[in-house]
């Protein structure tokens, strides 16, 4: 079933490019949701026998990444009555250009890093690197706090993809702990955005700069 895995990975790349290109925050959130659903499938693929653990993990993943996180983000977006523009420092076309460059870099890096283990697509490492880079890029170049959370989620997705494909032997305990943490993180961030909006009447993270030096 390697092909399906690779399909999902390619989808990951494409969604990333969309993320870089779009101007609507709503679309970004949906893209992240798509990524989440796709990633939720990964643990199931390439299994010899159907065991409960991967099922639980993928279920939880789909629930969180596909439904709850987008929900939270949309809520905080609504609560903050702001224009649903991304308002980047770096224009969309430039962002896409960066995307291409990042893709090249991550392919190069993936080439330097050997393929981890048998039965792992060689596409995995570059895609993971690429997703991480895109996530960081979004955090750095997008003004709104919400889009920074989006960036964080993209970063998280890249890492998750890497782990889910390459690391089949990880215990349930670990996985669940990780998911729980990410959930709480996003939850707390949502609350924080809510409060920021109430305190400042905006959620532009770049204007939170009273603490310096």
């Amino acid at each position: 079933m390697l092909s399906l895995v690779e399909l999902i990975l390619v989808g990951l790349v494409l969604t990333n490019l969309v993320l870089l290109g779009t101007s609507r925050i709503g679309l970004c959130i949906r893209m992240v949701a798509f990524q989440g659903v796709g990633l939720a499938l990964l643990p199931l693929l390439g299994l010899e026998a159907l065991s409960p653990e991967p099922l639980v993990i993928s279920g939880a993943t789909a629930l969180l990444k596909g439904w709850i996180f987008p929900l939270l983000l949309f809520r905080s977006l609504e609560s903050a009555h702001v224009r649903a523009e991304v308002e980047p420092y770096v224009g969309y076309s430039n962002s896409l250009l960066f995307g291409v460059a990042a893709l090249a870099v991550s392919v190069w890096l993936g080439g330097r890093v050997p393929v981890p283990g048998p039965g792992v697509p060689s596409l995995l490492t570059p895609v993971a690197f690429f997703t991480i880079l895109v996530g960081l890029f979004v955090i750095v170049t997008r003004r709104k706090a919400v889009s920074q959370v989006v960036g964080y989620l993209v970063l998280e997705n890249g890492i998750f993809a890497f782990g889910a494909v390459a690391l089949r032997k990880a215990q349930l305990l670990v996985e669940m702990g990780i998911l729980l943490d990410v959930f709480v993180a996003v939850f707390v961030m949502g609350i924080a955005i809510f409060r920021i909006n109430r305190e400042f009447d905006h959620i532009d993270a770049d204007r939170l700069a009273s603490l310096k030096e």
């Binding site: 750095v140 770049d206 700069a209 009273s210 603490l211 310096k212």
Partner: protein
């Protein structure tokens, strides 16, 4: 050695005990009493180590982190320790009287706490036989002296002085840190000694051979900065005046000697090379001349004394430099006399300078006036202070028949012998040392005759000087004891020199025999001193006998018939020293700022006479520059979280590139 342990214990316990009581008198009594008692306890073993030079050792099993703490006293330690303890004890007695009038303004505990810690630390520095222990004592000394300097911290100038001192001593200590932590480090530094420290016990590192020159340079900077070596001694003229006078006495009379002690230890332990001696001579001569030139340019009595401390530290370093050259060229006579001269001068300067500071303190205590040009005629109102100050001033100028002359004689003879020896490497350095010595003696005489004359003689220049009163007994007694020591050190100079040579004998074989002729010369000189005293007394008696029964009138100063001038018209210290200071203004900077009357209706004109401190200004400018440049880097953190994430990403990429390349 039991006594020595008791001495240390007394200091430490006294320090803690002084903090306990609420009442001012009780605290100061406990604190001062502890220091005096500790000094007495410590003096006994120290003095014994002087007569039996093999000394003794005390090793107390100190649990980790310090491993074994081992103290030992040999002749050299004793030479430094005896005067140190004596001075600390006397200064403690004085200090109790000096601080008595601050009752109610502050608690007495802290000053005496730090004073006792300082005493213990100095004792430790002179006796430590283990690098880490030395470091511990050294830092403790620096800290406690810092807090003592900052006792009057309500005054901004004092805070500034304290800050300068703290920074300077920390930078100096950094070099000592390296010196004492070098692999295979021992104290006193013997190359290749086994390293019984944490590093070896844990890491099992193999000591690397360190070039002796590096060790010398580290010691020169580290100890030299404490000894007031130019240009590292910039803190000295700031810190010593800022401290309360009994502390200034200890700082100047004892603490700067720890630097001399350290350098001497290194020179005795390692085989010196000629360039060590030349370095020491150059720096020592520069320090001495710079110090005395600075002293000529001051307007406050205590600052003058501080600058003169720099001068005398320079003279001691001259002695060390000659000694180092003597060892390097294998001329034991020069070596013995050079180090001997440094030791003798160390003893003398300790006594004189502490006495001078005590005197200055008692004038300050009585008048509250620091500037000399506002004082005058104090001698009549403070006879004891004046007389003792005169004695110390004569001594510190190296005039016969006092101790100062003895050290000058030994140093001069050492240079003379170095000059006359058929050793091409020695003659020019010896000549330079000699010239510097004589030059400094002459200028010091000018400075101190002026200071004594302006402060104590003539007519009072202001209200404060008129209402001066003699200090209480607690302050007078130590001054009198020290003043008695001044001529005594002149008479006993041969003994002091012999003790110094005996202390040096282990490092310089046959030092005593080599120095014997000089001891002989000093003995003869004491005969001349006796003649001088006899003649002086005889002439004074003769004068009285002649004047008895004749008409002895008292009138105004004749002054070539210019009657009834105001007191302010008297020659001030700045005017007294101006011609001489002008000759050296290249070193000390302009000695005064003159605002001339100008125009048809001139506004007020005036002349401010005080020479700037070029070294300090240089350092301040440098530090300010660096500070500004670094502050420009504060732009790196402007609060945008985006940029911060970028930092993280950039670090990640950079390290990845480093790792995977």
């Amino acid at each position: 050695m039991i006594l020595f342990a008791c001495c240390l214990a007394t200091f430490l316990l006294g320090a803690l005990a002084a903090l306990l009581p609420r009442s001012y008198r009780a605290a100061s009594a406990i604190g001062a009493g502890a220091s005096v008692l500790g000094c007495l306890l410590g003096l006994i073993p120290a003095a014994r180590a002087l007569v039996e030079p093999q000394g003794w050792a005390l090793t107390l099993a100190w649990p980790p982190p310090f491993g074994l703490g081992s103290f030992a006293i040999d002749g050299v330690s004793a030479m430094f320790l005896v005067p140190a303890l004596a001075l600390i004890g006397l200064a403690a007695v004085y200090g109790r009287g000096y601080l008595a009038d601050q009752e109610g303004r502050r608690r007495a505990g802290p000053p005496w706490f730090f004073y006792n810690i300082l005493a213990a630390a100095i004792t430790g520095v002179f006796t430590a036989r283990d690098p880490l222990l030395l470091l511990l004592c050294w830092e403790a000394m620096a800290l406690s002296s810092y807090f003592l300097i900052c006792l009057e911290d309500a005054d901004g100038a004092v805070r500034r002085a304290g800050r300068i001192y703290l920074v300077a001593s920390n930078l100096g200590a950094a070099f000592l840190l390296v010196l004492c932590l070098l692999p295979g480090a021992a104290w006193p530094p013997v190359l290749g000694a086994a390293d019984a420290g944490l590093a070896s016990s844990l890491g099992g590192m193999t000591p690397v051979a360190i070039p002796a020159g590096a060790i010398f340079l580290l010691a020169l900077v580290g100890f030299g900065s404490k000894a007031g070596l130019a240009p590292l001694g910039v803190w000295l003229p700031e810190a010593h005046p800022a401290a309360p006078s009994h502390v200034s006495a200890v700082l100047s009379g004892v603490m700067i000697k720890t630097g001399v002690y350290g350098i001497l230890r290194v020179l005795l332990a390692l085989p010196p090379q000629p360039w060590w001696g030349w370095t020491l001579l150059t720096l020592g001569g520069a320090t001495a001349v710079l110090g005395v030139a600075g002293a000529l340019g001051q307007s406050e009595l205590k600052r003058l004394l501080a600058w003169s401390s720099m001068e005398n530290a320079g003279l001691m370093l001259l002695g060390l430099g000659l000694g180092a050259l003597g060892r390097a060229f294998d001329e034991p006579v020069v070596a013995a006399l050079g180090f001997g001269a440094a030791l003798v001068h160390m003893v003398n300067h300790g006594v004189f300078k502490s006495l001078l500071f005590l005197g200055a303190g008692s004038v300050l205590h009585a008048t509250g006036e620091r500037r000399m040009d506002r004082l005058g005629g104090v001698l009549g109102r403070m006879p004891v202070t004046g007389a003792t100050f005169l004695a110390a001033a004569l001594g510190i100028c190296g005039l016969p028949p006092l101790g100062g002359f003895a050290s000058e004689l030994v140093l001069g003879l050492c240079a003379l012998k170095g000059l006359l020896l058929p050793q091409p490497g020695l003659d020019i350095p010896s000549l330079a040392a000699l010239a510097a010595l004589i030059l400094c003696a002459g200028m010091a005489a000018a400075a101190f005759s002026g200071a004594f004359g302006v402060v104590f003689l003539g007519a009072p220049r202001g209200e404060t000087a008129q209402h001066a009163h003699e200090s209480p007994r607690a302050m007078r007694a130590p001054m009198l004891i020290l003043a008695a020591l001044v001529p005594l050190l002149g008479i006993l100079a041969p003994l002091v020199l012999r003790a110094a040579l005996r202390a040096l004998a282990p490092a310089i074989p046959g030092a005593e025999a080599l120095g014997a002729p000089t001891v002989e010369a000093l003995t003869t000189a004491t005969l001349v001193f006796g003649l001088l005293f006899a003649l002086l007394g005889g002439l004074l008696l003769l004068r009285r006998a002649l004047l008895r029964g004749r008409d002895v009138r008292t009138g105004p100063t004749w002054d070539c018939g210019y009657a009834a001038p105001t007191a302010r018209i008297q020659y001030t210290y700045s005017s007294f020293t101006q011609p001489l200071a002008e000759m050296f203004h290249a070193l000390t900077g302009p000695t005064g700022v003159l605002t001339r009357p100008w125009g048809l209706f001139p506004a007020r004109a005036g002349h401010v006479a005080e020479s700037e401190d070029r070294m300090l200004n240089g350092f301040l400018a440098l530090f300010g520059f660096i500070d500004a440049k670094l502050e420009a880097l504060h732009r790196l953190q402007q609060g945008q979280v985006h940029v911060y994430v970028l930092y993280i990403a950039a670090t990640l990429v950079a390290l990845l590139a480093w790792g995977l390349w």
